[in-house]
Symmetry: C2
Subunit: 367 residues, 2 copies
């Protein structure tokens, strides 16, 4: 073998990251935040890789978010210094692990429950180190969080009065509006959600409780979040790779999406059972389906459908399938986060050549 391996030489299915597109996405989010000076803390649940996290930090991110303690442990062990765990950390085992991880990194947590706050306090005391806590507010998603309004004030006071905890602010995330296609409608939805967060913040301020951090927002709302200037920190995740299901989302003034599809799945045609269809080796175990079917990259006008755990079908209605046995096909994941979680590593490519392999170090860290 002379020189770098070509992408086409790889065994499939395989998960590819286009290094150039990834780098441009990281710069694009830096620019969106820099335009208004808001801080940003990208969500590492998307990439689960300390290597990508470090690229984001080098571009100016103030830290990373993690969805699970298990991800935070990986990031802390890899030297990422500043982490926000965006889901509640509940239970004795987990709190023991949390104070251990907090020995090597600054870790903030979110809470929405009095008992959990009491447990966090005991854990912090055991660890001998005060813990920073944010209150999560449900700003419309209907998932975790206290309702907007006075309840957060009660919990914040409880935290502030607890020796081993420090109240730092509020988290409010509305995931359901990130992919609203119409830009004006998305803007209105973001404003509505932010009103709920600011209303809650007003209650805190009138009770003389200081707020350092207002965190939330996603990749689809990032431009709006930055412009509105309410959040002190944004926590976008998907923008590093960009899900294909975002492709219908409009951007201000009809501008193209500022983020490129940097993540792809390469598959191979393993059967040509009829003139108008091909079977590829990409099924539910090689591409997540929770975000809908995956999409063929490029100009090939074919309909993809999952055909089981290990198979996908490419249908060319009324046409002859141009693919031969062994041909490689590139797909855009519909949902990058859950697709990344299926693989042990990224094959990093540049201009069609393999440049590196990065471990997906927090793959499977659901605990």
């Amino acid at each position: 073998m002379t020189g770098a391996m070509k992408v086409e030489e790889l065994d499939t299915p395989v998960l590819l990251v286009d290094a150039g597109a990834l780098e441009r996405n990281i710069i694009a989010m830096r620019d969106i935040a820099a335009a208004t000076g808001v801080a940003y803390r990208p969500h590492a649940k998307t990439h689960k890789s300390p290597i990508v996290a470090n690229m984001q930090l080098e571009a100016g991110a103030v830290g990373v978010c993690c969805a699970k303690l298990g991800e935070a442990e990986i990031m802390a062990a890899a030297g990422i210094p500043d982490i926000l765990i965006t889901s509640q950390v509940v239970g004795r085992n987990k709190l023991v692990r949390l104070i251990q991880a907090a020995q090597t990194a600054k870790i903030m947590v979110v809470a929405d429950n009095e008992d959990n706050i009491s447990d966090l306090s005991s854990a912090a005391q055991t660890g001998g180190k005060p813990m920073d806590v944010l209150i999560e507010v449900d700003i419309g998603q209907g998932r975790c969080g206290v309702p907007p309004g006075p309840e957060a004030t009660r919990l914040a006071r409880l935290i502030a009065e607890t020796k081993w905890l420090r109240f730092r602010g509020l988290q409010g995330y509305q995931g359901l509006i990130q992919m609203t296609a119409d830009f004006d409608q998305r803007q209105a939805q973001v404003e509505l959600a932010l009103e709920k967060l600011m209303d809650t913040a007003d209650h805190l301020k009138s009770a003389s409780i200081e707020i350092d951090i207002l965190t939330g927002g996603g990749s689809g709302s990032s431009i709006i979040d930055s412009a509105l200037g309410r959040y002190t920190e944004l926590q976008p995740g998907s923008y590093v790779f960009m899900d294909s299901r975002y492709r219908h989302a409009q951007w201000p003034g009809g501008a193209p999406c500022p983020f490129e599809n940097a993540l792809t799945i390469l598959g191979t045609v393993i059967s040509r059972p009829a003139t108008d269809r091909a079977i590829v080796d990409v099924g539910y175990k090689a591409a997540s389906s929770d975000g809908g079917p995956i999409v063929v990259a490029g100009n090939m006008d074919a309909e993809f459908s999952f055909a089981g755990d290990e198979h996908g079908q490419l249908f060319f209605p009324g046409r002859t399938c141009p693919l031969a046995l062994g041909d490689k096909v590139t797909f855009l994941p519909s949902h990058c986060d859950t697709t990344v979680n299926l693989y042990d590593g990224y094959i990093v490519t540049r201009d069609g050549l393999v440049e590196d392999v990065w471990e997906i170090a927090a793959r499977g860290r659901v605990q």
Copy 2:
């Protein structure tokens, strides 16, 4: 800690296997096959574990099926002696790996394409060992395989005339009918599919081509497949763990399903945002969704819905949620195969105590 750990003490989300239920499922399939003397070769794509594969072999299975070469490599390396790879192995890299794996185990492959047969022959010659090949026939699923009828005869002859290949028989699998609820309807569908396979076999016989193996069938059709006596080998997979989505399938004479739900996901309540709902730490990354929503085990009358990658919601319409923060909840996966693929190991339990941990050695082996 005195004695064995209790299941409730485990961090969550975690994947549990009930050892007793697993053992009974393995015996139940042995009995279904033994009733008519048909051989069976369980599909290891479900469990991806040489430990479970060995339990199946000890019960009398003639070997295992693997969906991917990457799984077969794991099984061969662990000493499983007899493997059928049920998907086409295509491409030079893969064929090199195939002949390497075939040094340690007897590996049969399926083919449906002339070029692939030619490549298999070259690979077998390079490996210095004849390779056993089956022709896949599409008996109704519309995925891989030659159409029923004379085409298989042409390919079988090609294989038989190739020095380094041995034609062994036909594979015909119809996955779309495994979960048909009405038993009589399922029986009729199985008979229709089998007619296509037997018609193809008749073409081969009239061309004086010998057939050793007719393989196919799944967990839902297993009783029918065994009774009809057409297959020489059955390849059921799901029965070891049993997906909850099979729960609507009827069995002969109104009998209960012969297989128990041996696989569960244990989750924890991490938020109690309203009186009628709880949020658990089980989302798309801890339970596959391609088979529909997961189901709460036991008698708890709650509606589960996925609430993102890391969250699930339990809704108690018009009632007060009986769960407190930190409570553990047991779920039945809707689709075991794709759920198993998300975890690195099984926690093996018996009577509510942790008995062992088994590595999911072929997790993520999609290539």
